[in-house]
């Protein structure tokens, strides 16, 4: 019996409607899981996997002669 933390306290997962999704691009791989109760969102968790730093600042090398 799996319990899910929700806005209404812990609830049995089988009583809820589960929805999942993901985004995959150059910057991130993100997944989320939602649980709904009678068309009300009662839980949403998100996992963002950063693939690389978005703001890479390259520095020009000093002259080595």
């Amino acid at each position: 019996m799996a319990l899910v933390n929700t806005t209404k306290g812990e609830m049995e997962e089988s009583l809820l409607e589960k929805k999942t999704g993901f985004v995959d691009n150059d910057n991130e791989y993100t997944t989320w899981v939602e649980y709904w109760l009678d068309e009300e969102l009662v839980h949403r968790s998100v996992h963002v996997q950063l693939k690389q730093s978005a703001a890479f600042a390259g520095a020009e090398a000093a002259s080595f002669g």
Binding site: N5, T6, T7, V23, N27, E28, T30, W32, V33, E34, L41, V42, H43, R44, S45, V46, H47, V48, Q49, L50, K51, Q52, S53, A54, A55, F56, A57, G58, A59, E60, A61, A62, F64
Partner: protein
């Protein structure tokens, strides 16, 4: 530029100007704060501010402490180029939070050094409801690390 120098910049080894007085050689404490999609947080950000930061159940202003168990590293890629890099050594996690207003970036900042900003990392806009928001770090390599200083 010497690759070792770039790595040493990350550990405050060199000082060309006026530096903060350090009472210890231990690593500073870094924190991660989440910001609303409507906030202006970018490369011009100089210090942590609660303006535009997310608010919600079980989220503490200022965010959470970043795990820093791995010191900066550096790698030469040629006689004239190299990269110094650092990545937090664990995922950044906000547990059992409700963040109802969309947010899309995290500010890493130095809470030891008067909350000075380090870096901003953006992602697709999200909300969290009675759940966990986990930010998993990229691989700690010369091409993907969270912080990279490079010569080309």
């Amino acid at each position: 530029m010497c690759t070792s120098f770039m790595s040493e910049l990350m550990t405050a080894t060199h000082n060309f100007g006026t530096a903060p007085t350090r009472g210890t050689s231990a690593a500073d404490t870094f924190k991660a704060a989440l910001y609303l999609a409507s906030a202006t947080i970018n490369a011009s950000t100089t210090v942590y501010s609660s303006t535009g930061e997310v608010t919600g159940t079980n989220y503490t202003a200022g965010g959470v402490t970043v795990t820093n168990a791995t010191p900066p590293a550096s790698t030469n890629t040629s006689a004239t180029a190299g990269t110094a890099y650092w990545t937090a050594s664990a995922s950044i996690t906000y547990t059992n939070v409700t963040l109802s207003t969309a947010f899309d970036c995290v500010l890493i900042y130095n809470s030891t050094q008067t909350n000075k900003a380090v870096s901003v990392h953006t992602f697709g806009s999200q909300t969290v409801t009675a759940g966990t928001f986990t930010l998993t770090m990229p691989s700690n390599t010369t091409s993907t690390a969270l912080l990279r200083l490079a010569t080309t």
